[in-house]
Each structure stands twice: as C-alpha cells, then as structure tokens.
C-alpha cells in the first residue's frame, strides 16, 4: 500500500503506549476495562465505541459484541450494547470464524521513527486486515520537530 492511500490527519500530540503479555496477568485486563469505565463516567470520553470477540474452545462458542456511549445534541448521554453468541460445532468453521473476526476488528499500528530512534514521527493506525483499501486506513502524523 502506498502512502498516498492513507488519510493524513494533522495532530499536535500523539501518545502510544503498550504492554506485552510476558509481564501482565490476565487480571490486569479488568483494570484496563475499569479505567475505560471511569473515563466514560467522568465524561473524559464523550463518546465511545468498543468491540469485542471472544471464544471458548471447549464449548466451541464465539461471542461478538459491541458497547458504546453516546452524547446527544444537548449533552445528554446514553449507552448501548449488543451481543451475538453462537455455538459452532464444526471445528474448522469455529477456528476460521474466530480468526476472520479477529482480522476485521484488530487495530494495527505501524510506527516510524526519524533521526531520533526514540521519537515517533509518524504513526499509521488502521483497523482490520486491510482487505478493503483506501479510506479504511488512517495515517496520523506528528508535527515535524524544529
């Protein structure tokens, strides 16, 4: 994909943080989710859309869901969620389905550093496996350093 296909958005500040799985317990995910809830209730996140997909290999079930908060024209806030859970008996279909959803809903990051290897000058963020090109990809660029 050429750079021209990215939608360039001018930003004044960009933060990128991550944690790998080697030093994190599964329970840390609850903390991360509660951090999201705190920000929703505090009004830091005016609007939110969160997708999730989960599987249970023993029961061969896949759960696909979405929840979000909205803010109306006069500041009134609300929430919604919807969830679809299916039991797929055929093992190959079960695995393929999970992988396909994972590709579509995963956020991908590509960071490019400039002369300073510790400074991210460009960051490409997009959703999905990039099956569809063009406007599904997002290009976020930090301002040039003076």
């Amino acid at each position: 994909m050429s750079e021209d296909e990215y939608w360039k958005v001018r930003v004044t500040h960009i933060d990128h943080s991550e944690a790998d799985g080697e030093h994190r317990y599964l329970g840390d995910l609850r903390l991360k989710l509660m951090e999201i809830a705190d920000k929703v209730e505090a009004g830091i996140y005016d609007e939110l859309s969160l997708n999730y997909f989960a599987n249970n290999q023993m029961q061969q079930t896949i759960t696909v869901g979405q929840l979000g908060t909205t803010q109306g024209e006069y500041g009134e806030r609300g929430s919604y969620w919807e969830e679809v859970k299916v039991h797929i008996p055929e093992e190959v279909h079960f695995t393929d389905t999970y992988r396909a959803f994972m590709e579509d809903a995963t956020i991908w990051l590509d960071a490019y550093s400039g002369d300073d290897p510790n400074t991210v000058e460009e960051l490409i963020v997009f959703v999905g496996d990039n099956r569809s090109e063009g406007d599904t990809t997002k290009f976020i660029k930090t301002p040039q350093k003076s």
Partner: protein, 147 residues
C-alpha cells in the same frame, strides 16, 4: 455472506440506557475472562474527548494458552487533532470500521425468532467480505432476548 452452521444463536441487546451501564457490561466481560468462560478475547475501542480534542484507539487482548498460563496485552494510541472537522471525521471513520453489523432474518413460521443471523464488522460497502450468516443446523431455534 459465508454461511456457518450453528446449533444455537443468542442475541442480546440493550439500548437507551444510562452511560454508567457501560461499566456493568465491562465488569461482566472481565468476569467472563477471569472465570475462563472466555478463553481468548480481543477488544478494540475508539473514543473521543471533545474538550481535549483527542481521538483514542485502544486494543486489549487476553488469552489462556495451552499451558493454561493467562496473559494480557494492550496497546493504546491517543492523538490530539486541532481541526474540529478532522477530529470528528477521524472518530467517525474508526467507529465505522469497528461497527458491529448484524441483521436477523426471521423464521416465517416462528415470529420473533431469527432463522438466519448475518454478522459482520465494519463498513460493508468497502469490503469484499460481507460477513457471516449463522444458520441453525437443526430444528433448534435461536432465542431472541432483550436486556
């Protein structure tokens, strides 16, 4: 649509509720992860902070491996976008890609019971892959629930 044979489909919905109910759903997800009901999970989030003109994307994932060792990873990006139009467009574009689309096709013999459920993520218009059609394999009809 890619037809997938399923033996059971459940749809749950909850709309027009207080913003604080988001926490209840997130707690339920956390419970399901820690109890092992969800062996693996991936969550993708996009949020907008109007006051600070921030768009935030967030990916969280948890899994219990074959060695039963649970792990979690997360990655978060926040970008401050000064131009109001671009701020709104950036949020809407991400939200569109992360949208969960589904439609239920009712069984004509069983009103209010979906016969086929089509499910996909994102903006289908730009995507050759349209999603999944979950088709019950037997006479086990899925149940429509509402929260």
């Amino acid at each position: 649509m890619w037809p997938i044979t399923v033996t059971r489909t459940e749809i749950q919905q909850n709309s027009d509720h207080a913003a604080s109910e988001t926490r209840a759903k997130l707690l339920e997800i956390a419970d399901n992860i820690e109890s092992g009901k969800y062996r693996t999970i991936s969550l993708s989030m996009v949020a907008i902070d109007d006051e600070n003109r921030l768009v935030l994307t967030d990916l969280n994932a948890g899994s219990i491996g074959l060695d039963d060792e649970p792990k979690t990873v997360w990655s978060q990006v926040s970008a401050q976008i000064v131009d109001e139009t671009e701020l709104t467009q950036a949020y809407q574009a991400f939200a569109l890609d992360l949208r969960l689309n589904y439609e239920s096709i009712e069984d004509t013999n069983h009103p209010n019971v979906p016969e086929v459920v089509n499910v996909s993520f994102g903006n289908e218009e730009d995507d050759d892959f349209e999603g999944f059609a979950f088709v019950p394999s037997e006479a086990v009809h899925p149940q429509l629930k509402s929260g």
